[in-house]
Protein backbone atom coordinates (compact mmCIF):
# COMPACT_ATOMS: atom_id res chain seq x y z
CA UNK A 1 0.00 0.00 0.00
CA UNK A 2 1.40 3.38 -1.02
CA UNK A 3 1.67 5.90 1.76
CA UNK A 4 2.91 8.82 -0.32
CA UNK A 5 2.07 10.59 -3.55
CA UNK A 6 4.40 9.95 -6.49
CA UNK A 7 5.23 12.65 -9.00
CA UNK A 8 2.61 11.53 -11.51
CA UNK A 9 -0.09 11.57 -8.84
CA UNK A 10 1.00 14.99 -7.66
CA UNK A 11 0.85 16.33 -11.20
CA UNK A 12 -2.65 14.89 -11.66
CA UNK A 13 -3.64 16.27 -8.25
CA UNK A 14 -2.48 19.74 -9.27
CA UNK A 15 -4.50 19.55 -12.50
CA UNK A 16 -7.64 18.31 -10.74
CA UNK A 17 -7.38 21.01 -8.07
CA UNK A 18 -6.90 23.68 -10.74
CA UNK A 19 -9.91 22.38 -12.69
CA UNK A 20 -12.12 22.35 -9.56
CA UNK A 21 -11.01 25.89 -8.70
CA UNK A 22 -11.69 27.32 -12.18
CA UNK A 23 -14.96 25.46 -12.66
CA UNK A 24 -16.29 26.81 -9.36
CA UNK A 25 -15.18 30.34 -10.14
CA UNK A 26 -16.66 30.31 -13.67
CA UNK A 27 -20.06 29.23 -12.31
CA UNK A 28 -20.34 32.38 -10.20
CA UNK A 29 -19.18 34.92 -12.81
CA UNK A 30 -22.43 35.20 -14.87
CA UNK A 31 -24.51 36.05 -11.79
CA UNK A 32 -22.07 38.76 -10.68
CA UNK A 33 -21.87 40.14 -14.22
CA UNK A 34 -25.67 40.25 -14.66
CA UNK A 35 -26.12 41.95 -11.32
CA UNK A 36 -23.46 44.58 -12.08
CA UNK A 37 -24.98 45.30 -15.51
CA UNK A 38 -28.57 45.67 -14.29
CA UNK A 39 -27.57 47.95 -11.42
CA UNK A 40 -25.36 49.97 -13.76
CA UNK A 41 -28.35 50.65 -16.03
CA UNK A 42 -30.43 51.85 -13.06
CA UNK A 43 -27.60 54.14 -11.92
CA UNK A 44 -27.33 55.67 -15.38
CA UNK A 45 -31.10 56.29 -15.59
CA UNK A 46 -31.19 57.91 -12.15
CA UNK A 47 -28.20 60.09 -12.97
CA UNK A 48 -29.96 61.23 -16.16
CA UNK A 49 -33.07 62.17 -14.15
CA UNK A 50 -31.09 64.24 -11.65
CA UNK A 51 -29.07 66.06 -14.30
CA UNK A 52 -32.09 66.79 -16.50
CA UNK A 53 -34.07 68.18 -13.56
CA UNK A 54 -31.13 70.39 -12.64
CA UNK A 55 -30.66 71.51 -16.26
CA UNK A 56 -34.37 72.38 -16.47
CA UNK A 57 -34.13 74.46 -13.28
CA UNK A 58 -36.59 72.19 -11.49
CA UNK A 59 -34.06 71.59 -8.69
CA UNK A 60 -31.25 73.74 -7.31
CA UNK A 61 -27.58 72.84 -7.04
CA UNK A 62 -27.63 71.93 -3.35
CA UNK A 63 -30.52 69.51 -3.85
CA UNK A 64 -28.88 68.01 -6.96
CA UNK A 65 -25.68 67.44 -4.93
CA UNK A 66 -27.58 65.63 -2.19
CA UNK A 67 -29.29 63.41 -4.76
CA UNK A 68 -25.95 62.63 -6.40
CA UNK A 69 -24.58 61.75 -2.97
CA UNK A 70 -27.43 59.27 -2.47
CA UNK A 71 -26.50 57.74 -5.79
CA UNK A 72 -22.84 57.48 -4.74
CA UNK A 73 -23.85 55.64 -1.58
CA UNK A 74 -25.97 53.26 -3.66
CA UNK A 75 -23.07 52.67 -6.06
CA UNK A 76 -20.78 51.93 -3.10
CA UNK A 77 -23.23 49.39 -1.67
CA UNK A 78 -23.46 47.66 -5.05
CA UNK A 79 -19.68 47.56 -5.52
CA UNK A 80 -19.33 46.12 -2.01
CA UNK A 81 -21.77 43.35 -2.94
CA UNK A 82 -19.72 42.57 -6.03
CA UNK A 83 -16.61 42.43 -3.84
CA UNK A 84 -18.41 40.14 -1.38
CA UNK A 85 -19.74 37.85 -4.10
CA UNK A 86 -16.24 37.68 -5.54
CA UNK A 87 -14.78 36.75 -2.14
CA UNK A 88 -17.44 34.04 -1.69
CA UNK A 89 -16.71 32.71 -5.17
CA UNK A 90 -12.97 32.49 -4.48
CA UNK A 91 -13.66 30.89 -1.09
CA UNK A 92 -15.88 28.23 -2.69
CA UNK A 93 -13.32 27.63 -5.44
CA UNK A 94 -10.46 27.18 -2.96
CA UNK A 95 -12.54 24.85 -0.79
CA UNK A 96 -13.48 22.80 -3.87
CA UNK A 97 -9.79 22.48 -4.74
CA UNK A 98 -8.97 21.52 -1.14
CA UNK A 99 -11.66 18.83 -1.23
CA UNK A 100 -10.01 17.35 -4.31
CA UNK A 101 -6.68 17.33 -2.45
CA UNK A 102 -8.32 15.78 0.62
CA UNK A 103 -9.66 12.91 -1.48
CA UNK A 104 -6.30 12.29 -3.10
CA UNK A 105 -4.40 12.39 0.21
CA UNK A 106 -6.78 9.93 1.89
CA UNK A 107 -6.61 7.60 -1.12
CA UNK A 108 -2.80 7.73 -1.18
CA UNK A 109 -2.58 7.06 2.55
CA UNK A 110 -5.14 4.30 2.43
CA UNK A 111 -7.19 5.74 5.25
CA UNK A 112 -9.14 8.92 6.02
CA UNK A 113 -6.52 11.08 7.67
CA UNK A 114 -8.44 14.25 6.82
Amino acid sequence: MSSSLDLAQIGKLGEDMGAAFLSNLKDKVPDIENYAKSEGVKMAQCLATITSLFAAGAIKEDEAKLQLDIQKHAARAILLTIEGLGALAVEAAINAALNVAKGAVNTALGFALI
Partner: protein, 151 residues
Protein backbone atom coordinates in the same frame (compact mmCIF):
# COMPACT_ATOMS: atom_id res chain seq x y z
CA UNK B 1 7.70 22.31 -12.76
CA UNK B 2 7.07 18.88 -11.26
CA UNK B 3 9.21 19.76 -8.26
CA UNK B 4 7.19 22.95 -7.80
CA UNK B 5 3.94 20.98 -7.97
CA UNK B 6 5.34 18.55 -5.41
CA UNK B 7 6.27 21.34 -3.00
CA UNK B 8 2.92 23.08 -3.60
CA UNK B 9 1.00 19.89 -2.89
CA UNK B 10 2.91 19.32 0.36
CA UNK B 11 2.21 22.91 1.41
CA UNK B 12 -1.48 22.47 0.70
CA UNK B 13 -1.56 19.27 2.77
CA UNK B 14 0.05 21.09 5.70
CA UNK B 15 -2.38 24.00 5.38
CA UNK B 16 -5.31 21.59 5.25
CA UNK B 17 -4.14 19.83 8.40
CA UNK B 18 -3.66 23.10 10.20
CA UNK B 19 -6.83 24.84 9.04
CA UNK B 20 -9.33 22.02 9.29
CA UNK B 21 -9.77 21.79 5.52
CA UNK B 22 -12.02 24.79 4.80
CA UNK B 23 -11.37 28.45 4.23
CA UNK B 24 -13.76 31.29 5.08
CA UNK B 25 -13.39 34.87 3.87
CA UNK B 26 -16.90 36.15 4.56
CA UNK B 27 -19.19 35.77 7.57
CA UNK B 28 -21.97 33.20 7.75
CA UNK B 29 -25.56 34.04 6.84
CA UNK B 30 -27.49 35.83 9.56
CA UNK B 31 -31.27 35.47 9.36
CA UNK B 32 -31.85 38.37 11.75
CA UNK B 33 -29.95 40.72 9.42
CA UNK B 34 -31.98 39.40 6.47
CA UNK B 35 -35.30 39.87 8.30
CA UNK B 36 -34.50 43.30 9.74
CA UNK B 37 -33.08 44.76 6.50
CA UNK B 38 -36.14 43.47 4.62
CA UNK B 39 -38.42 45.15 7.17
CA UNK B 40 -36.52 48.43 6.83
CA UNK B 41 -36.79 48.22 3.03
CA UNK B 42 -40.59 47.90 3.29
CA UNK B 43 -40.66 50.90 5.62
CA UNK B 44 -38.82 53.02 3.05
CA UNK B 45 -40.90 51.78 0.13
CA UNK B 46 -44.08 52.72 2.00
CA UNK B 47 -42.59 56.11 2.84
CA UNK B 48 -41.72 56.95 -0.78
CA UNK B 49 -45.12 55.85 -2.09
CA UNK B 50 -46.93 57.97 0.50
CA UNK B 51 -44.61 60.95 -0.03
CA UNK B 52 -45.45 61.05 -3.74
CA UNK B 53 -49.15 61.48 -2.98
CA UNK B 54 -48.64 64.28 -0.44
CA UNK B 55 -48.84 67.99 -1.17
CA UNK B 56 -47.17 70.71 0.91
CA UNK B 57 -47.25 70.96 3.95
CA UNK B 58 -48.14 67.24 4.40
CA UNK B 59 -44.88 66.30 2.61
CA UNK B 60 -42.73 68.52 4.81
CA UNK B 61 -39.78 67.18 6.82
CA UNK B 62 -41.35 68.40 10.06
CA UNK B 63 -44.27 66.03 9.39
CA UNK B 64 -41.94 63.07 8.95
CA UNK B 65 -39.41 63.47 11.76
CA UNK B 66 -40.73 60.33 13.47
CA UNK B 67 -40.15 58.31 10.28
CA UNK B 68 -36.49 59.33 10.22
CA UNK B 69 -36.04 58.72 13.94
CA UNK B 70 -37.62 55.25 13.73
CA UNK B 71 -35.57 54.37 10.65
CA UNK B 72 -32.32 55.44 12.36
CA UNK B 73 -33.15 53.39 15.46
CA UNK B 74 -33.94 50.31 13.36
CA UNK B 75 -30.77 50.74 11.34
CA UNK B 76 -28.69 51.21 14.46
CA UNK B 77 -29.93 47.87 15.79
CA UNK B 78 -28.96 46.16 12.53
CA UNK B 79 -25.52 47.81 12.61
CA UNK B 80 -24.82 46.78 16.20
CA UNK B 81 -25.63 43.16 15.35
CA UNK B 82 -23.59 43.28 12.13
CA UNK B 83 -20.52 44.54 14.02
CA UNK B 84 -20.79 41.63 16.46
CA UNK B 85 -20.49 39.05 13.66
CA UNK B 86 -16.93 38.07 12.64
CA UNK B 87 -15.75 38.53 9.02
CA UNK B 88 -18.70 40.86 8.38
CA UNK B 89 -16.79 43.98 7.22
CA UNK B 90 -18.48 44.24 3.84
CA UNK B 91 -22.00 44.24 5.27
CA UNK B 92 -20.92 46.77 7.92
CA UNK B 93 -19.68 49.11 5.16
CA UNK B 94 -22.92 48.64 3.22
CA UNK B 95 -24.95 49.60 6.29
CA UNK B 96 -22.78 52.72 6.63
CA UNK B 97 -23.67 53.62 3.04
CA UNK B 98 -27.35 53.17 3.89
CA UNK B 99 -26.96 55.39 6.95
CA UNK B 100 -25.33 58.14 4.88
CA UNK B 101 -28.03 57.86 2.20
CA UNK B 102 -30.74 58.28 4.86
CA UNK B 103 -28.94 61.35 6.17
CA UNK B 104 -28.81 62.85 2.65
CA UNK B 105 -32.49 62.12 2.09
CA UNK B 106 -33.29 63.84 5.36
CA UNK B 107 -31.23 66.91 4.38
CA UNK B 108 -32.91 66.97 0.99
CA UNK B 109 -36.34 67.09 2.61
CA UNK B 110 -35.20 69.78 5.07
CA UNK B 111 -34.06 71.86 2.07
CA UNK B 112 -37.51 71.63 0.51
CA UNK B 113 -39.07 72.85 3.77
CA UNK B 114 -37.09 76.09 3.39
CA UNK B 115 -38.64 76.44 -0.08
CA UNK B 116 -42.09 75.45 1.25
CA UNK B 117 -42.30 72.73 -1.36
CA UNK B 118 -42.12 68.94 -1.76
CA UNK B 119 -39.40 66.79 -3.29
CA UNK B 120 -40.04 66.51 -7.04
CA UNK B 121 -42.01 63.26 -7.75
CA UNK B 122 -39.37 62.21 -10.31
CA UNK B 123 -36.72 62.54 -7.61
CA UNK B 124 -38.85 60.53 -5.19
CA UNK B 125 -38.94 57.77 -7.82
CA UNK B 126 -35.15 58.07 -8.19
CA UNK B 127 -34.68 57.93 -4.43
CA UNK B 128 -36.89 54.84 -4.22
CA UNK B 129 -34.82 53.14 -6.91
CA UNK B 130 -31.53 54.08 -5.23
CA UNK B 131 -32.63 52.99 -1.78
CA UNK B 132 -33.97 49.71 -3.17
CA UNK B 133 -30.60 49.21 -4.87
CA UNK B 134 -28.88 49.63 -1.51
CA UNK B 135 -31.27 47.22 0.19
CA UNK B 136 -30.95 44.70 -2.65
CA UNK B 137 -27.16 44.95 -2.43
CA UNK B 138 -27.18 44.18 1.29
CA UNK B 139 -29.68 41.33 0.96
CA UNK B 140 -28.04 39.82 -2.12
CA UNK B 141 -24.77 39.45 -0.25
CA UNK B 142 -26.46 38.22 2.90
CA UNK B 143 -28.36 35.50 1.02
CA UNK B 144 -25.20 34.51 -0.86
CA UNK B 145 -23.58 33.87 2.53
CA UNK B 146 -25.87 30.81 2.81
CA UNK B 147 -23.37 29.21 0.40
CA UNK B 148 -25.98 26.88 -1.04
CA UNK B 149 -27.05 25.55 2.36
CA UNK B 150 -30.77 24.83 2.83
CA UNK B 151 -32.02 27.06 5.66
Amino acid sequence: MKELLRILSKCIVVIMLLSGCTIQFVSKYDDQTDTNVTALQKKFDTYFINLKSEAYPACSYSNHISFYNDAKIQLSGIQVRAKAIPLNDITIKQLESLSLAISDLEKSQQLKDKESSCINPLLIDTDQIMFNSIFTAILKLEIAKKRGEAK
